[in-house]
Symmetry: D2
């Protein structure tokens, strides 16, 4: 069981992760998410403002926020383990309030690795303010060929 409060370097760089998405994860183009930072069990990603991401009332639609949370978890899990074959086992999200205009930042932290990894993500307005959603998630780490 890895203790994740280490100062170890990330197992993948931002550029390496972008290349991984481009090579092997076609879905990631749909959401146009920017990868800001990846650490050893942490990540910061940005969902830019897009009219095409909205639902009734001008809110950012739930599926966009869930996609952002899931990709932030993937970045942080790969950052902690180097295992690109990691897959979501479970994800639970609470939607807290309507997002104000502007993009949304995901701040992710992995709290356990092992056979399963687990982590949390806070989604906050890029312009500042109270969180718009909060998720926890477990990930399965298959024996990887990466």
């Amino acid at each position: 069981m890895t203790i994740l409060t280490s100062n170890n370097p990330a197992c993948i760089t931002v550029d390496g992760f972008k290349q991984l998405l481009k090579d092997a994860h076609p879905f990631s183009e749909l959401l146009e998410i920017e990868i800001i930072e990846i650490g050893h069990g942490t990540s910061v990603l940005l969902l830019p403002e897009r009219t095409s991401h909205q639902r009734l009332g001008g809110m950012i639609a739930g599926p966009m926020l869930m996609g952002l949370a899931d990709l932030a978890l993937y970045a942080a899990v790969v950052g902690a383990t180097g295992n690109a074959a990691a897959v979501t086992a479970s994800l639970s999200i609470n939607f807290l309030r309507k997002s104000p205009p502007g993009g949304v930042l995901a701040n992710c932290k992995i709290v356990k690795t092992g056979r399963l990894a687990a982590g949390e993500v806070s989604l906050v307005p890029a312009a500042g303010g109270e969180p718009v959603a909060h998720a926890i998630s477990t990930w399965s780490l298959p024996k990887s060929s990466t």
Copy 2:
């Protein structure tokens, strides 16, 4: 508290729901989901097979499946209540197994309405077989202008 085992007709038709998506939910075009059926607290939706929905290993990416589950819940909540202003309050999903080739069907059932609605969605391969994911969710029902 509405008992949902009624034979009441849906509060919205499939065509009415498609129009609602087109008019007010720009995000829904991204996923290209087909609305198959809406009842009073039930829905069946189809996520068609798309290379652009895949992640590493040729699996359908988690965010696509979460988007499918969320939209199926929205259709069933509007089918039960007519309240288009309904928003996801919480969603929890377990990913069970890799989806085989082909589309994925969402079968959704609302189990409670009131100030909050709650429901579940089973995601199954359109070609048949064991479920690929299973979600439960609560929805907030603001006083609606719809």
Copy 3:
């Protein structure tokens, strides 16, 4: 990956499971839950009516219902796998409505086994009526010595 729609017999009997609880799970005495039925990936358990289980308003307290759901999942996982070392990895529950007087039945069904198991539980009044809670859960299956 086991297909769970089989007619295989349960890997443990009700009496064997009661003995397992008595021998190795001291906590299970606290809730006084009755084991009604265990199948290959299914279980039915009963939380009897107790004043000591109540919270403000005469409702059965959430922790009692979560305990019932968790034990029903354990029974069904052991019923499907024989692995008594199984532990909860994640559990998500929606509370739907106040329970009427009387006990509460848990109906549990495992939908996947493998490195992880997953299942769902519906909690319904023993006297009949709409469900009071609904949970989904994943379980880790360590290599067992059982």
Copy 4:
């Protein structure tokens, strides 16, 4: 929508909360949880070490940890709102690792209040070390007579 980073005092004292549990929440005696601290949307509770809380392998059983998390959320919700009629609407928990010997502390923080409240709880060994579980939860806030 209340911003919860305020320095407002808690809407209930530790002693007032203990009295509320004694008067109206019989279930709370079962778990023997100690109320350490309650703030305006925060709480710290302690589950003391008890053989009667254990499951196979000498671990603290999941239902005890879920009970601890739920009661910590209740304390923090009442601390933020004064609404004793608040009830859990949803709770999702990830179990991260076996708890070492000794008690378990719950550190809870409410991140939203309104028609629904939402919060998170981290469960950590009282003796120090990595978290053993992590939960997020939503609460329904009925119009209260408190």
